[in-house]
């Protein structure tokens, strides 16, 4: 047992919490969801590779909150309100711009409504951030079906292209200073654009050569019949999924939508499974879907399902009205169902043997900062 939980379990858990968050605008419930996600991250986060900082997502959430509020104040709000907080000077607009308002009366109701709305988005971001911090998306690759693996690697490599590009732009812009040119400004960016792209392209080609030399894309011989069945199943399955989804969304075809979707999914999965035969790849220490993974993903799914159900039995508690202004209350049962999301923080899910070398990585910055304090 390695202690590393299946990456998929973390994502199911986080998406469950996100679903719960999307079903409510109650700020107390939303705060509870963010707190649950944050607590689990704090308890279970290991400084393993690829784990992105959780704080970045929290900051993004705060930025969303701020932007939404600024817009609500500047552009006004469709929510009718009686409590005027302040009145901004209104910009006169021509009649064809009717319905758009800049400045004017800012009501407490409008601001509160915008706040609730933005809080929901921020909570969603916090949930995704938690999944990202607990299991890097690249780790999901390990659980991808064989037929999709190579496409998955291509996506991951493409994703690392952007951060590398940013690092390159910084380096080359710094080097501009050495040529006696100011490093800032839009023109500066344009001038470094071409060398940076050339460099990035060179690196990509070098990586492709290295991957080729290491056996990326080796395939096994499969009989033509299997190949044809694979194509038929995959194509037919995807068509089924499209038609089924359309049926479900269109409303009229609800009768045949669900079975068609299910049949399409089954066929596509069969196609993927057969397609996997062409790939000779094996997996090194694949993530196992064990009891802990069931618990973690189950807790997220339960939180989602119970909150969706709560939407049916207590709609008022999940959506406290902004008009008239009332203090939101924390509804007991929905709060309890959100708290189910804390299950991954139980010591049992941490596994018996946590990954051994993690302290080594944690120690590196610690020890250096310790050194730095002694002059």
């Amino acid at each position: 047992m390695t202690g590393a939980l299946h990456a998929g379990a973390w994502w199911v858990w986080a998406l469950g919490l996100a679903t719960a968050a999307s079903r409510t605008t109650n700020p107390l419930l939303l705060a509870l969801i963010v707190a649950v996600a944050g607590y689990v991250v704090a308890v279970r986060h290991t400084a393993g590779a690829g784990a992105r900082p959780y704080a970045a997502f929290l900051k993004l959430g705060l930025a969303v909150l701020a932007i939404r509020l600024v817009f609500a104040v500047l552009l006004g709000s469709p929510v009718p309100g009686t409590h005027t907080l302040l009145t901004l000077p209104e910009v006169p607009l021509p009649h064809w711009a009717q319905g758009v308002r800049i400045g004017g009366r800012v009501t407490a109701e409008g601001v509160v409504f915008a706040l609730y709305d933005a809080l929901r988005l921020a909570a969603l971001l916090a949930c995704v951030g938690a999944a990202n911090a607990l299991a890097a998306p690249a780790r999901l690759l390990k659980s991808l079906p064989g037929a999709l693996y190579e496409a998955g690697v291509a996506v991951v490599v493409a994703l690392t292209f952007a951060p590398n590009l940013v690092a390159d732009v910084r380096r080359v812009r710094a080097a501009r200073r050495l040529r006696g040119r100011p490093g800032r400004g839009f023109r500066g960016l344009l001038q470094v654009g071409l060398p940076v792209l050339e460099g990035a392209l060179e690196r990509s080609v070098a990586l492709a050569a290295a991957m080729d030399a290491r056996g990326y894309g080796r395939t096994a011989e499969v009989p033509p019949a299997v190949r044809r069945t694979t194509s038929a199943l995959t194509l037919g399955g995807l068509l089924g999924v499209c038609a089924g989804t359309y049926g479900l969304l269109a409303g009229q075809g609800a009768g045949y939508g669900a079975p068609l979707l299910a049949a399409g999914l089954l066929a596509a999965l069969g196609g993927l499974r057969l397609g996997g035969r062409r790939s000779v790849r094996t997996r090194y220490r694949p993530d196992r879907w064990d009891a802990r993974a069931w618990l973690v993903s189950g807790s997220g799914a339960a939180a989602a399902a119970l909150t969706v159900w709560a939407g049916a039995y207590a709609p008022g508690a999940l959506h406290p009205p902004a008009v008239p202004l009332t203090a939101p209350e924390l509804p007991l049962w929905p709060a309890a169902s959100v708290l189910l999301g804390l299950a991954p923080a139980l010591p049992w899910t941490a596994g018996r043997a946590p990954a051994p070398a993690v302290p080594g990585q944690r120690n590196a910055p610690l020890s250096s900062s310790r050194r730095s304090r002694t002059p």
Binding site: G48, A49, G50, A138, V153, V157, R171, V172, A174, A175, R176, R177, L178, R179, G180, R181, P182, G183, Q191, V192, L194, P195, E198, G199, E202, R203, A206, L207, A208, A209, A210, M211, D212, A213, R214, G215, Y216, G217, R218, A220, V280, R281, T282, R283, Y284, R285, P286, A355, P356, A357, V358, G360, Q361, A364, P365, S368, S369, R371, S372, P375
Partner: protein
């Protein structure tokens, strides 16, 4: 194990073939060293072994290359992956995953090995290469030597019978290079792996080779033979061989150990001779340490000419890490200072601080009397110039001529200044070539000319000899000596102990951001096991550093 039969490679659009009529056999379990000046087709030959030439690079391959009996014409690189492991020049370009353990497993996963075999081999390889401590570390956080070992490990796990390496030690400090070579030795001796490697820094590898393949020139037939026999006539050779040839030792020693045994008479002969100075003598360049305490602020500049650069108790932080700690350093006009130390010791940070790319957290930096991080780029150009580790960072235009014209405008120099400098540094750099298509040596010459166009009194170079062959290095030494004689102060950060010995008046050794040694070159390097050049090791305890010194004394 590796067989080349009448192999010629011609790249598309090239007038002449990159390789012509190569016949070569590397038997199993040998460490074969590929040497030659830059641009003779070493990388092409290595690529032909792994099948990347011509399957990946394009071009036409005539003749036949077989590896472990497989013809590379009919086997693509991925189908050779189980017999050939390839590590390119830049290990970072080689990594597909982001942790050490996953990277070691990646190749085996592609080959479809069973899970328990993979697990066993990963553990074995972690131990073999001393990577066990690092198994969960993100690759980006490793040092250069560690990355190189991971890159080697990542191809070793597939148990290839042939290992192909392109300049595995060029980017490494001397200690890290030894680490990597020790690993290669072990593979050859214990596992019977066939290793084919190309390397410019022969002083590091030649004593380990069983066979040397010399490509004397572009399109010329390779010379294959025992290392001592090939080195006796090779145009590229390490200092130990140069000294052996000079002293007429036979058999020609390839390692410091063998040379020391043969050198007793030479040491006796040189015992009473004072070695000539490495370069133009300068007055004692002892570092000016400011007195501690209250008087520090009131301290006057030292007597004599104003220093080209002065750092006083400078600390630089990168995030939470102290990159430099209380570094004090003064560089005078006409002085050449070599900064040495292991990868990540703060050498580049020091250079970048001198051009104002880092603001010091504490202390003062002065280049030509100005604080570089507060000086505008146009003004700074006249005080200090830096040639970065990768000269490509400095080059933006799409032809050499355009680059030179831009440099003239940047420095408000008269048109043609930069181009004239390029020609004086290296005569045959074509005007119409794209800077990225130039050889390493040509590119360095161009970047150096671009920086010199503004005639900065202080010139900084970061790892200038990476990828340079001995001829290009010798030219660089000549050029830099000339500049120092004209009064330029030069600071170079380098892992190349031979370069430092030939060029520097003073060596400053950094470790963990602190200056641990600072003094005249002979004093610092002769006593150091890591930074002593080969001649110093052979003639120790005598303070001789370079072959030209000895040659001058003997003639």
């Amino acid at each position: 194990m590796i067989r080349f039969e009448q192999v010629s490679v011609t790249y598309e659009g090239a007038a002449a073939p990159a390789l012509r009529d190569v016949d070569l056999t590397v038997p199993e379990g040998e460490l074969c060293l590929l040497v030659g000046p830059s641009g003779v087709g070493k990388s092409t030959l290595l690529g032909a072994v792994s099948g990347l030439v011509p399957h990946f690079t394009g071009g036409t391959l005539r003749g036949r290359v077989t590896v472990a009996g497989r013809d590379t014409r009919t086997h693509r690189p991925r189908e050779l992956a189980d017999v050939v492991g390839t590590v390119g020049q830049d290990p970072l370009a080689h990594f597909v995953t982001d942790t050490v353990e996953d990277e070691l497993a990646y190749g085996m996963e592609s080959l479809g090995l069973p899970a328990d075999t993979m697990r066993r081999r990963v553990e074995e390889t972690l131990d073999l290469l001393g990577l066990a401590e690092l198994r969960d570390r993100p690759i980006a956080t490793l040092s250069g030597g560690q990355q190189q070992r991971v890159a080697i490990g990542s191809v070793l796990t597939a148990h290839p019978r042939v290992l192909v390496l392109d300049e595995p030690t060029s980017a490494l400090d001397p200690a890290a290079a030894e680490e990597v070579l020790a690993v290669l030795q072990r593979l050859v001796h214990d596992l019977g792996t066939t290793v084919l490697l190309a390397e410019h820094r022969l002083e590091r590898v030649v004593q380990y080779a069983d066979q040397v393949v010399l490509l004397p020139g572009r399109g010329e037939a390779p010379v294959v033979g025992a290392p001592a026999a090939v080195m006796a006539h090779s145009p590229v050779h390490p200092p130990v061989v140069a000294l052996g040839r000079l002293a007429g030792w036979s058999p020609l020693p390839l390692s410091v150990r063998d040379a020391r045994r043969a050198a007793a008479p030479l040491r006796e002969r040189l015992a009473d001779v004072r070695p000539p100075a490495v370069a133009a003598p300068v007055e004692t360049a002892a570092p000016v340490r400011p007195p501690r305490g209250l008087l520090r602020r009131a301290r006057r500049a030292p007597e004599g000419p104003a220093p080209a650069a002065a750092l006083t108790d400078v600390s630089v932080r990168h995030g939470h890490v102290d990159a430099l700690r209380e570094v004090s350093l003064t560089v005078r006009p006409g002085e050449t200072v070599a900064l040495m130390g292991r990868n990540g010791a703060g050498k580049s940070t020091l250079l970048r601080t001198l051009v104002g790319l880092h603001e010091p957290a504490r202390g003062t930096v002065r280049t030509g009397g100005a604080a570089p991080h507060r000086t505008g780029p146009r003004e700074l150009l006249r005080h200090v110039g830096l040639v970065p580790q990768d000269p490509r960072d400095l080059l933006y235009a799409d032809t050499v001529a355009a680059e030179c014209a831009a440099a003239d405008t940047d420095a408000s120099a008269s048109p043609g200044t930069c181009r004239a400098l390029v020609s004086s540094l290296l005569p045959d750099v074509p005007d119409t070539a794209h800077p990225r298509d130039l050889s390493e040596g040509q590119r360095l010459a161009l970047a150096l000319a671009v920086v010199l166009t503004a005639r900065p009194p202080l010139l900084l170079l970061d790892e200038p000899t990476r990828g340079l062959d001995y001829a290009a290095k010798a030219r660089l030494v000549e050029v830099l000596r000339g500049l120092a004689a004209e009064g330029h102060a030069i600071v170079l950060a380098t892992h190349d102990v031979e370069l430092a010995a030939e060029l520097a008046h003073r060596v400053v050794v950094l470790a963990e951001g602190e200056v641990v040694a600072d003094g005249p070159t002979p004093d610092v390097v002769v006593s150091s096991p890591a930074f002593a050049p080969q001649v110093a090791k052979i003639l120790s305890p005598l303070p001789w550093l370079t072959v030209p010194q000895v040659r001058e004394a003997l003639s």
